[in-house]
């Protein structure tokens, strides 16, 4: 749901939170990114950082160069000018990432947590139960049967929030409570209606379903995909998961270790928002 007007809330004396609506969906997130692009284009010199998120954005600003009141007036004027129309086309890279479902490393991580919290249901089983999926194979089919929209990056360098683009592919789950103290690098998890890939060994709270052996973060920029950036993904990219066996996963691990691995990135595609929304509507009606 999109609000009629922007909701502004000050975050201390150097930041403002701008909410556009309430919900986790493509249309709302797309509107966030349109507004962020228009704010960047306006080149307000006092703005230091912008964080686009699912349904909101945060602006960090220098309060000695612009007042809070003037800043939110400028942002409201930009939004009024561009409107909340969701249409048009944009370049959107398509990245196909390998995933080894229900692999040893994430299984061991889940078991490690269950040593302290034995009542915790095993993640894939919990996901099957909550989403009415008959077994793990069907869960993997549903998870890999859609493209994902990179809605936001944050929490940790390169960590991505992925929204499924096919309406029937939504998998939802509560987050761990309390959170895990560690998660294997490359683990793929589900939290709320989002999917994420852990860029590094970090704490975490998403339910784990597998591991992606292709790195999405490379601080040393050794692999070709990281020549221009330490993080693989950008908001507005699309991701598709390709299921791989334990053997192929091990082969990819070795290619990565030898600094030879080449990510599957298609750069020539244009994403038509109108055609996507028509398609998603038809898919939804079919279901």
């Amino acid at each position: 749901m999109l609000y009629e007007t922007l909701h502004f809330s000050p975050g201390g004396d150097r930041a403002v939170e701008v909410e556009l609506g309430d919900g986790m969906n493509f249309t709302l997130n797309f509107t966030v990114h349109r507004l962020v692009a228009a704010i960047r284009e306006a080149r307000l010199p006092a703005i230091e950082d912008i964080i686009p998120e699912l349904a909101s954005l945060q602006i960090n600003y220098d309060p000695d160069r612009i007042s809070y009141e003037n800043l939110i007036r400028e942002i409201a004027a930009i939004y009024e000018r561009i409107g909340s129309d969701v249409s048009g086309s944009l370049p959107s890279r398509l990245l196909t990432l390998p995933i080894h479902y229900f692999d040893e490393e994430t299984t061991a991580c889940i078991e490690d947590y269950r040593k302290t919290y034995p009542e915790k249901q095993i993640d894939p089983d919990l996901l099957c139960e909550l989403n009415g999926v008959e077994n793990r194979a069907a869960l993997a089919r549903r998870h890999s049967g859609t493209e994902y929209w990179v809605a936001a990056l944050g929490f940790w360098p390169g960590l991505c929030s992925l929204l499924p683009l096919r309406p029937g592919s939504r998998i939802t789950a509560p987050k761990y409570n309390p959170p895990r103290t560690w998660t294997p690098k490359g683990a793929v998890g589900i939290g709320g209606a989002l999917c994420c890939i852990y860029p590094d060994r970090t704490p975490g709270g998403y339910q784990l379903i597998g591991r992606c052996p292709a790195p999405i973060y490379d601080g040393s920029q050794r692999l070709p995909a990281f020549r221009d950036s330490l993080a693989l993904l950008r908001a507005g990219d699309r991701v598709r998961f390709r299921p791989v066996s334990a053997e192929e996963c091990a082969w990819i691990d070795a290619e990565v270790a030898a600094e030879r691995y080449e990510h599957d990135v298609v750069e020539y595609q244009i994403f038509s928002v109108d055609q996507y929304l028509d398609w998603a509507k038809a898919q939804g009606e079919k279901a």
């Binding site: 809330s9 000050p10 975050g11 201390g12 004396d13 150097r14 930041a15 403002v16 939170e17 909410e19 309430d22 919900g23 986790m24 230091e48 950082d49 912008i50 964080i51 686009p52 998120e53 699912l54 349904a55 909101s56 954005l57 945060q58 960090n60 309060p63 000695d64 809070y68 936001a152 990056l153 944050g154 929490f155 940790w156 360098p157 390169g158 960590l159 929030s161 939802t172 509560p174 987050k175 409570n177 939290g191 709320g192 209606a193 989002l194 860029p199 590094d200 601080g219 950036s229 330490l230 993080a231 950008r234 908001a235």
Partner: protein, 327 residues
């Protein structure tokens, strides 16, 4: 080759290189701003050695390092009192110190406050990563915490005899000696997710600093929060706990509420997440958070944006070149 920086003899506890303004413009990819936690002490250390005040220098935490200088430099030690010694002799803090090649600076455990700063003439000349030399050591961005035997390069030294300067006591940050701190904070961005009584409670209660605090967050223990309708009746996209919200940006200094545990998000904190931020510490009060120790008591004083601006202006005058005096 004569000049080659300094060598780490003992690394101390997660000692890192920091620089201002930090890593700006990369929050949208998940990189925290980093930079020195106590900007007041950091800038004064640089001014004492003749550097621009934002130059890369060392931040020490709880237990300082031992360093051998491999060229003639001037240095200054500010922030927490870690009882600095040069070749075994106690030396003053908040003052320029001339050091000859081969001399060893040794810092101990923090006696008062938590974080100390060592600035060195010429500045630390490590590679710039994403626009900054500031280190986010947990993700190894910009480098790591210091390690034994590491050799660090310095920038060019100015010629001529260095000025010996000091920071007068009245211009230094005043560290609590009774383990209590008053922290200025603003309501928002998500104070409307708490009930009004909980907002009042936050500004009247005493909050104890947990041992599990670091450069990502200061964890607090205190009374329980009660929530407003917005937190209790919301769409499932927000998550199940009253403190859950659809993932959003995290302001620096935000008091993030995860369940019932408030965590003040500081320099290396996550950029985004799924918990509410009912309050935010005024930017000019961050330095106090840097100097708190586990078990210290925080009391929050509510300020508005205007007063936060006055505090910023006051901090600015304390960290300008004019603050030093000749010894």
């Amino acid at each position: 080759m004569s000049a080659h920086g300094f060598t780490v003899l003992k690394p101390g506890l997660e000692t890192t290189i920091q620089e201002l303004p930090g890593r700006i413009g990369y929050l949208e990819q998940g990189f925290p701003i980093s930079g020195p936690f106590d900007k007041w002490s950091f800038r004064q250390a640089n001014l004492l050695v003749g550097n621009p005040r934002d130059t890369a220098a060392l931040e020490c935490q709880f237990l300082g390092p031992s360093l051998r200088f491999d060229q003639d430099v001037v240095i200054a030690v500010t922030g927490a009192d870690m009882r600095p010694k040069l070749d075994g002799e106690a030396v003053p803090m908040w003052q320029t110190l001339a050091v000859s090649a081969g001399q060893v600076l040794e810092l101990g455990a923090a006696y008062i406050a938590a974080r100390g700063y060592i600035a060195i003439s010429g500045g630390i000349d490590t590679p710039v990563v994403l626009g900054s030399r500031a280190v986010f050591h947990m993700a190894r961005v910009g480098g790591q915490a210091l390690v034994k035997d590491q050799v660090l390069p310095l920038g060019p030294q100015s010629s001529g005899a260095p000025a010996i300067l000091a920071i007068p006591e009245g211009s230094r940050p005043c560290f609590s000696t009774d383990k209590t701190w008053q922290i200025e904070a603003l309501a928002g961005p998500n104070d409307d997710w708490l009930d009004p009584a909980a907002v009042e409670m936050f500004f009247s209660a005493e909050w104890s600093v947990q041992a599990k605090s670091n450069r990502t967050g200061i964890r607090l223990t205190g009374p329980e929060f009660s929530f407003a309708g917005r937190a209790l009746n919301k769409s499932s996209d927000h998550g199940q706990d009253p403190s859950n919200i659809i993932d959003h940006g995290y302001p620096l200094g935000a008091v993030n509420l995860a369940g019932q545990t408030p965590i003040i998000l500081v320099n290396d904190a996550p950029s985004t997440g799924g918990f509410i931020n009912p309050f935010t510490v005024a930017s000019a009060a961050f330095w106090k958070l840097a100097q708190t120790k586990p078990g210290d008591i925080l009391r929050f004083r509510r300020v508005d944006r205007e007063e936060a601006g006055q505090l910023r202006a006051a901090l600015e005058t304390m960290t300008c070149a004019g603050v030093t005096v000749r010894v």
